[in-house]
Symmetry: C2
Subunit: 330 residues, 2 copies
Amino acid sequence: MAERDLIERVVAGLGRRGDRLLVGPGDDAAVVRADALAVTSTDTTVLGVHLPPDGHPRVTPEVVGHRAMATALSDLAAMGVAPGEAYVALTAPPAWDDARLEGLVRGAEAVAAATGTTIAGGDVSAGPGLVVTVTVVGWAASEAELLRRDGARPGWSVGVTGVLGGSATGLALLTDPRLAGADVPAPCPPAEAEALIERYLRPTPLVALGRRLRAAGAVAAIDLSDGVATDADHLARRSRVRIDVDVDALPRQAGVDAVAAALGADAARTAAEGGEDFELLVAAPPAAREALAALGVRWVGTVHDAGGAPGARLLRDGAPRPWRGWEHGA
Amino acid sequence: MAERDLIERVVAGLGRRGDRLLVGPGDDAAVVRADALAVTSTDTTVLGVHLPPDGHPRVTPEVVGHRAMATALSDLAAMGVAPGEAYVALTAPPAWDDARLEGLVRGAEAVAAATGTTIAGGDVSAGPGLVVTVTVVGWAASEAELLRRDGARPGWSVGVTGVLGGSATGLALLTDPRLAGADVPAPCPPAEAEALIERYLRPTPLVALGRRLRAAGAVAAIDLSDGVATDADHLARRSRVRIDVDVDALPRQAGVDAVAAALGADAARTAAEGGEDFELLVAAPPAAREALAALGVRWVGTVHDAGGAPGARLLRDGAPRPWRGWEHGA
């Protein structure tokens, strides 16, 4: 009965947003009123893999839940659709007692509330580690509303929202032994360091922005989970084009340069390869450049005919191979 | 790149069933043509929790995939809806190399193919153990098509499909040290023992039968994952009724009695509490009894006014408390 008690307490803390949900948790399945198109993504967060191992003081249960929900919803942001429901499957080892699991769900629910998402179902199971799989469903009236990866065309521009490198830099501040000791002064002002750490721990899924970008003329998009180098490559391959990205044009979060310098690292490379910033990378025709720039998109690259070798290239001073191992299109 | 190679090989082996899928694996999310109602359930299978620990010779990767997909789809069977899509999230430790993961997906895909389900997306991640979360989506045109847990009414009958106790008995044959040794003769004929083991390893989700039961007049249903004792209790509480179940009326799979006798166990209790048979328990008004019996439903219980204490009671010779600890409604 312990599992049922936990589930009842968890369910009591969940809000219903919108009027889609006909049957929520407690039946064999949730029942939801649909629109024409269901847009669905599933994403797993493992403690010790996608987050530091259990026990790090900043990695609270709420952070785990926040991050699991946010990273799943980021895929809907990149599709340009409004989120509807989320389904949360938890696998937990004995050290994760009910109080911690409830904290995790509170963290997920806070992100759901902020994005208009209803947690409509889930599962709780024992297991050898903490694994959270979140399946999110968004709804669209037609294909024209969607941002897809395969829509980029030669002659278009590639841009990014927000600032990059923050998440990887925040992780370094949390866990790199050269930076993470209590007696080690952060190489940047404390407010910047805290913002970098929060960027890693509590990313924001850009679901409203994704829809505005689509409305303003963006055609293709991907969320920056792996980093520009890899994600631009995914977009290029799906669209069968070549994408050139000027790595020095990638906007960097405040503090990224100072932390990179302290680590002897290349800040531009952190921005290009760090990943997990969960900003959006978009491709758009020239006519949409101005409207998208007004929404905060910064233009960092160009789309070209693939010449038989689709993929992304990173450029510095106009030349490829800014560092070894970057060229996914090769 | 290893993960991407694996995903590409896996995706190449997946079939598309029906014409719902507009965007499959490879974009940020799958895009599916919807019907009026989406019916969604998520279910996790953990090796070593829901199946014996890694290394048991009968628990092949295909078995893990089969079981994960079948147990998830069983929830759609209990809702009376046709399955549409499944999303498969895998978390795997290093010992699960690509070949094993591909075997797992083959097992899941075989069940998907047998039930008209399209695996439309997923996720692969490293982790401390093998965890498979399958989210399944079925589609219905209206609420009238659905079987729900909350529909049982006093004066109705409760019935079960198929035979029970087989899965728990099969697990005992696989793992109970009194039975599982190579030098221990099975207490039942080899063909029966093999059928019991297969019942545990490769359950069949009754998705077509669930829809036929609804059409024949069943109103409420639940799938027998935890066992009649617990699942009838779930149904009773959701419907706010009392359900009395005659445990001696529960049909038992061939060999269950012989194995129970060899273990000094009570075969009727195995049928009532064993769980994981993934048959369906239904409640229906008297007018539907004949049509449902023609589909194989055997009547094993009755629905009563709850008198303020909803729940299920197991009865033997008309008296409650056939054994200690069974009475969930108490």
